[in-house]
Amino acid sequence: MKLSPTIKKYLPYGLLILIILFNLYLYRNEFKVTSDPNDNSFHYALIDEARNIWKDVFSGKLSPLYLLDSWNERWAEGFSLSFYYSHLPEAAISLLSFFIPISTFQLMVIIRTLLLILLPVSFFFGARILGFSSGFGLIFAFFSQAIFTDGLYGLDSPSFLWRGWGLSTQLLAVFFLPLAFAYGIDYLKNKKSLGKALIFNFLLAQAHFGMFYLLLFAYPVFWIFSLDQLFEVGKRTLIFLSFILISLAYFIFPFFLSSQYRNFSLWDPIWKFNSWGLNQIIIWLTNGDLFDFNRFPFLTIFVIGGMFWGLISGNKLYRYLAAIFSLYFILFLGRNILGPLVNLIPGLSEYHLHRVIVMVQFTGLLIASGWLFDLLQSLIKRKNIVLIILVISLGIYSVYLMEKPIINYVKDNSAWIERSNTDYQKNFNDYQVIINSIKKLPLVRVYAGRPGNWGRDFKIGDTQVYMALSQDGFPTIGFLPQSWSPNSDTEQFFDEENPKHYDLYNVGYLVLPIDKKPPQFAKLIIKKGKFSLYKVDSEGWFTLGKSSLAVMTKKTNLVNIVHLWFYSPMFTNKDYPVVALNNEKLTFVDRIIKMSGMNDYNNDKSIWQVNPLSDRQEKFEPSIINKVEKKIPQGYSVNFRLENQCENCVLILKQTFHPNWKILVNGKSQEAFPVFPFFIGIQLNNPGNYEIITTYQPSTLKTILLILGVLIFIFAFKKISKL
């Protein structure tokens, strides 16, 4: 049986189109989504936020640099999220939304669904760029679509589909991953495609920095596998990594340099940070759950076989692929196995190691494709028609068995999308009445429950109301789509029955289910459908307090002492301890303690033995009058009069502290500092009239590094790439 060269050439492309068409049919209902039940709500909120920044940029209110570094106050008392997180894809999609006549939400849904459908294309071309044949590429492309787990956050559809985790940015990154890796290796191996390698690695980093960071480990390993060209490949590795570093310097350096203002959350499950451990991962691998949940372990067999096939192969690239699979697999075993060794690698001490599964699966699929392709080739070489027909029949049956659990998963997914859409449509108008009412009122935070209480079941469509509100641009409390704000962990101690907590966080509105009894002090604004909106009087964005204590601490030792403060006389008396993350010597406080652990201070004292916050307090008397607050782009301003001389007095802005906040007191710049829980504190002493303007400004270091990066690319890229 001999195929004509033309058929042989185009058959893999035809089959690839078939896979895409199958995906298009399989995932067709994803296009109909009207509300999300998962992280996609968060991703949409980021796009919406970027759209607001574009509007301010177009109207001349903000500089375009805010697209790279801005203040997002939809969650956790505000946070410079784009300083640490994906931001360019959001900026690009939101810009596109100005030109395409559909809603921004629909645009996002279309983009993410198309990415999922077209994922095999990127895998196919990734394999081709690596130098593999179309047949190999086709198997790799098919495997990318066929992998299936019980929602382990990997490459499979439960990570991306509506009913899954909603990992849109990971999906974008997975789309770029094969191309970034392939062009990277192509440059190191053949000195070709440096530009493309840099572009796709840059795009990967922009989509998901964590995944890009993991991929970086693979490049030096390739150098180790090129000992015959030690100098040449070493030089290319250096050039490649240097250019990558330069292109991302504006993001990487500030990311690491200001890590103390990024929370290490204790609310995140342990397995996220530590991964699952040796026992569990070996059980999953041998059960087939890492690649083939709920079906015969087809892929698992090829991955394990591919591992041995790669290791004993005479081909350097195959050996290399098997080696990086092993490397990622060991890293995936996690912190309990690797211990402090992991923490020695910059950035990994706070990394969610369970996400290494993406690289385990990606490299696993590469070696699995290699071995299967090799087996099929040797079969074809035998020219035994009966055997070939038998294998083709078995192959088709295997494809059916592999797709069956995925099809079942997608079937349920489609039914649930329909159900959610119906519910969304039913409640949409009522919800709009509620949010339109809030929009007409002064801007304060909104509370609509949280995942740990009644808020979990209070939904519009399948989106919890607290998520929907943050999607619609309201500053909310209680919902943590990410936990990087230093206020994230302690915000969870917000007590909806305690009026002082509404003051603390400037929560002014409650959105409750119609049958939920409101706190006594809440006043009804409106009831509509299943929603009710209440108002609570709160002090506003600024308040006057004092700081009699400074707490020197690492960020990881802060949570318990802040929690204890909530129930201390200091809290009642508006005494906000200063947080000294850099051991600053503060002269205006009366006392200083140094946390030596989460529950210990001054080396030998326990907070449970001698509570450092229980000192007798003189009643805090000073007050401000004639306070007028105003929301300004990326900040707040306030005018007021301070009546008396005020020792230790601090004006508190109820936004998360970050060094990028700039404070003007009566036109003069003044240093701010973090105060409990992690708000912005501004020292005030003298009586008089004050005008205070507080704005979040993009990091100067970021701007300088960005300009330097662009200049280096313009002037040095051509010269160095020829070396």
Partner: protein, 222 residues
């Protein structure tokens, strides 16, 4: 054989042996076995070692380095977390004591949970469940023991527990009954010359249902 029998049938361990003794014996037997292994290894692989002496020195250095790093706190007389030491005896009414995690974490990875009391968090400790006894053979090497203790956040809110610390069978500390909403407590005890340290948790009342209890940040000082 005697050790494995003792582990499986603790009620059939007769004097002069004891469960603690048999478990301690495993250490000495291991040392003995390693010594024999090294002797035969050096004897039969002496030519390989001579040829690759640099590699051998490097391997021994790495091995000794790892040993030193793992035990430097003890050697430098620094405080040691009790969680680093393997108990010689554990008994518990529900699941098994968990290191640096709550007792419920013993159900599997998806139940892994941090230790906390009223949402006051701890990085180190032992997640236990009443009724429980966890004993350590310290060999009189430590002078002081400090620990926090309390009911874990994940516990049910009905029942109470008493925390007891024994040294060589003698009661060194007994807490008042503690419930879910009580804050953690700290205790510091002299354990000079104590061979066997036992951490005991008893149910106060009739039911131990949902009584997830924690020894938090337990530290030994030489």
């Amino acid at each position: 054989m005697y050790i494995s029998m003792a582990l499986n049938y603790p009620d059939q361990v007769y004097w002069p042996f004891s469960l603690e003794l048999t478990r301690s014996f495993t250490l000495y037997i291991s040392i003995f076995q390693i010594t024999i292994f090294l002797y035969f290894f050096i004897r039969y692989f002496s030519s390989f070692i001579k040829k690759n002496y640099l590699l051998t020195i490097a391997a021994v250095t790495v091995f000794m380095g790892v040993l030193l790093i793992k035990n430097y706190s003890y050697l430098l007389h620094e405080p040691i977390s009790l969680t680093k030491i393997t108990p010689v005896e554990t008994h518990q009414d529900y699941l098994k004591p968990m290191i640096d995690m709550t007792v419920e974490s013993g159900r599997g990875v998806k139940y892994w949970n941090r230790l906390s009391n009223n949402y006051y968090f701890y990085n180190q400790g032992i997640g236990a469940h009443a009724n429980s006894i966890i004993s350590y053979n310290l060999g009189g090497r430590f002078s002081k023991f400090t620990t926090d203790f309390g009911i874990d956040t994940e516990a049910g809110d009905q029942n109470k527990a008493i925390f007891i610390i024994q040294g060589d069978g003698r009661e060194l500390f007994k807490s008042k009954p503690k419930g879910k909403y009580d804050l953690p407590e700290l205790i510091s005890l002299s354990i000079d010359k104590v061979d066997k340290l036992s951490l005991i948790i008893k149910t106060e009342g009739e039911s131990n249902n949902g009584l997830h209890t924690d020894w938090l940040n337990p530290i030994l000082i030489r």
